[in-house]
Structures are given as structure tokens and as C-alpha cells.
Symmetry: C2
Subunit: 372 residues, 2 copies
């Protein structure tokens, strides 16, 4: 195996582990900030290191189109290009291709899509997607899969699962020639039947980890939690589990409790740029006029650069005035909060008090931020 | 006097000096980055310290409207609010008020203008402008002045100069009650008669320094240099000289050579955000496709964070993709380049080789950046 994954402690279904990659070790549960185009929006790599980020997510589809493979090759890969020394996980681009208009054409061979930038046509086959991720220098690669737009017929769902399985196996074969480790993606929406069917097809093969895909796409939150719970029960304990595209701090705690190890989401970065902050005292919007003269930091107990140096009032002024520094400082705090939450979750699991920790977090979120 | 200014060395008319303020010492010639709304766009204060910025410029008119005086007062001034410990110079807001539509109404009392944000009406009298700058906590204040839109009649020009003189004296009186030092602004366009008339009216009074205003507003570059030369000859040697709103690296060297000490300009920040870089090898635009695969840094001899860590190609990718990090890294380099240029200019003056230094700079700018 290209990765080493070790479970250090467990509390109920929650796990605390150590994922060793060629580019460094990740303590799990871990949250990966999203760096779609080879930059975590508004952040510099040294700032990511400063707040304790261990691993980034980047995007095969977007990097393939811009800056393109020649540019990535000239740099010797994404790590050197963007100045990030730690591990990078890349998604396969399948999800992005499927959200394009016009929809891509799917054949047994792969996904044929038109670039959202210039309309040029590109065929992503399972092998090609692995090769692109090798050019990127991805430490953890995702296979391309067939994820039909929902709702769709049972027939189409079953076809998608069978095709995704075949593609995952082709990707696994291709991955033997490249340094990166390959995960499988388990699809099947909120249907236990489909999830089980897909997982059972994937399980016998030496994927280095399992991603749970197709959630956080608009379904009811309880349906998402039930699915995570169900899939978590079926996954092998000794391999790392990545819940794709999730989520809020509440979602993270709920899914850590259900046995997930890795997460990624645009919420802390995207919402930060719009002035929405995640805090120990819940979610706040800086545009709210009650922060106009609030000279306290977001959170006096937070050690991030933003909280150590700036007031809510100043942050509000920057966001209202659309200053770049406002987007930067809000993103910094949000990512630091997510990293701190994961760190505290790991400690709680190690000390067999994850449930108490999670309910203390929930109480804090309800308390709200006091403004003098 | 509230400031101490000492000339350490001279080379021709060029001067190298030390300006002591209550918040730290500034080596001159010095360039002040512009922080209109209480932030140098795209930069954090610790990054400004890292690249050697000594003093910032901020904007009385803009800060008065947003975040407003109550918010500044709640923080104990701009320094605490924005996390900048060094000196801050504030312009008076006259220039901004005059660029508004509809034009402000000017009476003997002051300038009555409508906010560009909400149309609310505000009267800026000389005393009020000093008081606003005291709330900001400005280390160096500018008096409001009457700067008519050009072209205008001789009569109107003379009225403006007389009114500006009267207002400067009122401001000087008001400044005795506040900690900040007050400069006078010498107006008069490119007319030697008017410049001399204004300067002679101001010279007998204990202003802490002299600003040369009304240049870099569209006049021919030779007319600007001639005016700077002329005014420089008439200014007292022992007080610091600030050339407002200038300029390009070439403008800075030309005006240092003509005896100016302080400069501010939006060029390195504004143009940086658009992908235009100032370098030892001239001005380049990152959008140019010749940088697409250029894995060299902007300048291998530059010590800024951008040049130490990132390639031209990556910077181009970020700017073309409108990523915030692109604006940040380009601004960082441009400001670092300006600071380095000033530092090298000071060293050249101290070593009696300013002319050689300036011509070596000009040769470098013509050379262009080689791309492999």
C-alpha cells in the first residue's frame, strides 16, 4: 500500500487515526480546505501551515483546464507550483463535469464534456483521469465515476453503479504505474440497497481508502446521517474513510460520530469571503449592524491571526467595504476554527469523551456571541 | 515641534534623512503605501512590516464616512483598529471631496460636500478636518485646501491660493490642541508665479513639513519635474518635503533627485491587483501569454515572499483566474520593490552615487525580463 493508516483510539464508532503519506502524516479526523484552482481562496500556503492545515483538496477537472497540464508539468506538479509541501487529495473531476451545461456524454469509455471556459471538448477516461492526477502530483487520487443527475430511474442508477465499479477497477489498474494512492468512491444516494450493492462490488479490491460520495447534495440531513451510518458499518475498519463535500461544524461532528475520518468543504472559505463566520458561539454574519462598534475579537479564546489582532467591528468594516483583507481575515478564522474543532475532536476521542465534547460544542453554538 | 527631521546626507539636491515621529522613525526618502479605508488593499499589517514599510497613508474623507468617527473612537484610533503600530499620515480629504459629483460647495468657511456613499451632506472646515484627523490618531495631518478644477481663471486660482493659506493657518492653530503634526500643502499647478506666491505665504509659519500638491494630475511629466525642481529650491532645507500622489519608480527617482523626501501612490497596489508588476527589469503584465510557462520568479534577486516562493507562471494563473492570492502576491512584490528602491536610493545618496544608481535603475528597466 502507498498509504499507512493506523487507528490510534476509538470512542463508540468515532475513530482517531494517523494517515501516513509520502508528503507527511495527517491526524484524523481531519478537515481539508478546498483549493480548487491550486490556491485555497484568499489564503497563502504559509498561512495554511500556521493554522494547522495538514492536507488540501484540489480539483482535477479545474486544474486540467487551467493552468493546464503543460504548466503543471513545467513546475513538476502542483505542490511545487503552489508552494504547498504537505499532502494533496484531488477529486476526479467527475462531479464538476456532471454539473456542466450542456451535460456531458457518458459512454462505457468515459465522460465526454465541454469546457466551461471555452467549450472545447475533452474525454475523461478512468486511465486518463489517473494520469492527470499523476501530473498534478496528487497524493490521494479519486477515480472518475458515473453520477447521474437525480432523480433518475432505478435502471439508470444500477447502470451508474456498475459502470462506476468498472471504472474504479480500471483506475486501480492505472494507479499501479503512478505514485499516488487511489480511493474508491461509494455511490448509491440515500438507498441502502444501492449503497450496499456498490460497496460490495468495491470491497474485495485493494483501494487505499473509501470515499462516500453523492451526499450533501440537497437531501434531508437525517437521510445523510443515516446513509453515513449505514455505509460506515459496512466499511472495513482498517481503511481510511472520506466523506466528500461535508460540511458544517455540526455535520462534521455528526459524521465523525458515525465513523468518518476525512472531510472537505467550501463552506469555511466561501462563506468567510461573504462575511459569515463559524465560531464556538455559533454562526454570525459580519454584515449585521450589531457588530458595528464591537471592539472585541470574534473569539477571545481563538489563537488565529484574525482573533489575535482585529475586532469584529474592523472585520465588519472590511467586509462591508469589500476589502480583500476582510475576505482574508474571515477565511483565516473560519479555517482555523475548523482545524481547532478537528483537533479537539481527536483529543476527545482519545479520551473517550467524544459525545460530551460534541454536546458541549452544540451548547456553545446555541449561546451566540455577546456584543457589549 | 512634534516631529524631528534630520538630514543625514546629501548628494546634489537629493537628501537622505531621518524623520522621528511619536510612533517610530522613518528613513527618507520614503514611500508610503496607500491604505484608503484603513487597509492597504490586499495586505495584512504584518506583511507590510515584513517588506519594510515604515509609514502608511490613509484617507480622512473615506474614514470619516466609513467606518465613521464613532467606530474609530471606540477603537482608540486607526492604529489600534487596523493593527498598524508605525506612523500614519492622513491626507485632508480635500482632494477626494473635489473629485465628487456633484462638486462640493466652497465658502470661506469650508467645503460642503455630499457623501459618495449615501448623498448625506457634510461640512469640512479647517478645524473640523484637524479634529477628524485627531480622532483617527494621525501622526502627520494635512490641512484642507481649496483646489479648483482645472482649467480655471487666474482670478479663481488666486482666490484658491489665498483661501488655502487662510485655511492652513486656521488648521495650524487647531493642531496645537492635538498630538499630530501638521504639514502645509503648496498648491499653484505648474505656474511658478502661483507656486511662489503660495509658498511665500506659508513659509513664515511653523508647519512641520511641506507637501507639494496638485501634481501628477495629468500635466506633462516635464512640467511636473520642473515644478518640483522649482518648489524644491524654495523650500527650507530643514523641513521634510512630501510630494503627494507620486508615482512610478522613474517619477520617484526623478523627484528624489529634485529634493523630495516622502511619496505616496496607489500604483504599486492598484496595478498589482490587475497583474501589473514593477521590477528591476521594467514593468510587466502577468496576463501576457509569454509568462504562461515561465517557472522563474519575478526577480531572483528580490527577497519578497512572492519572489522567494512562486513562479511567474503561477502568478499569471492566479491573476488570469481572478484569485485573491494573485492580487495579494502581486501587491506584495510591487510594494517590496518600491521599498527596496527607496532603501537603495538612501544608500546611494549616503555614498554620493545617486546619479549612477538612478541611471543603473533606468538601464535595468529597459532590459526587460528574460523568459526561457
Amino acid at each position: 500500500m502507498k498509504l499507512e493508516f493506523e487507528i490510534l483510539a476509538g470512542d463508540g464508532k468515532a475513530r482517531c487515526g494517523r494517515l501516513k503519506t509520502a508528503r507527511g502524516t495527517v491526524s484524523t479526523p481531519a478537515f481539508m480546505p478546498v483549493g480548487t484552482l491550486g490556491t485555497v481562496k484568499a489564503m497563502s500556503p504559509r498561512e495554511l501551515v500556521e493554522i494547522g492545515v495538514q492536507m488540501l483538496l484540489s480539483n482535477t477537472y479545474h486544474l486540467y483546464l487551467r493552468p493546464g497540464l503543460e504548466v503543471l508539468e513545467r513546475h513538476g506538479g502542483l505542490h511545487a507550483m503552489m508552494g504547498w509541501k504537505g499532502p494533496i487529495l484531488t477529486d476526479s473531476g467527475g462531479y464538476q463535469a456532471y454539473s456542466l451545461k450542456p451535460l456531458p456524454r457518458i459512454t462505457e469509455e468515459g465522460v465526454l464534456f465541454a469546457s466551461h471556459l471555452d467549450g472545447s471538448r475533452h474525454l475523461f477516461t478512468p486511465r486518463k483521469v489517473v494520469e492527470i492526477q499523476a501530473v498534478i502530483g496528487s497524493d490521494i487520487m479519486m477515480p472518475i465515476d458515473d453520477c447521474p443527475a437525480l432523480p433518475c430511474s432505478q435502471e439508470r442508477l444500477i447502470q451508474a453503479i456498475e459502470r462506476s465499479t468498472a471504472w474504479a477497477l480500471e483506475s486501480l489498474e492505472a494507479s499501479r504505474q503512478v505514485p499516488g494512492a487511489l480511493f474508491a468512491i461509494v455511490q448509491g444516494g440515500t438507498s441502502q440497497t444501492h449503497r450496499r450493492r456498490h460497496l460490495e462490488a468495491l470491497l474485495p479490491h485493494p483501494f487505499e481508502g473509501f470515499a462516500v460520495g453523492g451526499l450533501a447534495v440537497g437531501e434531508q440531513i437525517e437521510a445523510m446521517y443515516d446513509t453515513v451510518d449505514f455505509v460506515g458499518e459496512l466499511l472495513p475498519a482498517d481503511r481510511v474513510r472520506y466523506l466528500m463535500g461535508v460540511g458544517t461544524p455540526e455535520n462534521l461532528l455528526a459524521c465523525i460520530e458515525r465513523g468518518m475520518d476525512l472531510f472537505d468543504c467550501v463552506l469555511p472559505t466561501r462563506n468567510g469571503r461573504n462575511g459569515q463566520l463559524f465560531t464556538r458561539r455559533g454562526v454570525i454574519n459580519l454584515k449585521n449592524s450589531r457588530f458595528r462598534e464591537a471592539t472585541d475579537p470574534i473569539d477571545p479564546h481563538c489563537g488565529c491571526y484574525t482573533c489575535r489582532n482585529f475586532s469584529l467591528s474592523y472585520l465588519r468594516h472590511l467586509i462591508v467595504s469589500r476589502e480583500i483583507l476582510g475576505a482574508r481575515l474571515a477565511t483565516t478564522h473560519n479555517l482555523a476554527y475548523y482545524q481547532d474543532l478537528m483537533k479537539e475532536a481527536r483529543e476527545a476521542i482519545a479520551n473517550d469523551r467524544f459525545r460530551q465534547f460534541a454536546s458541549a460544542c452544540r451548547e456553545g453554538w446555541l449561546a451566540g456571541i455577546p456584543v457589549a
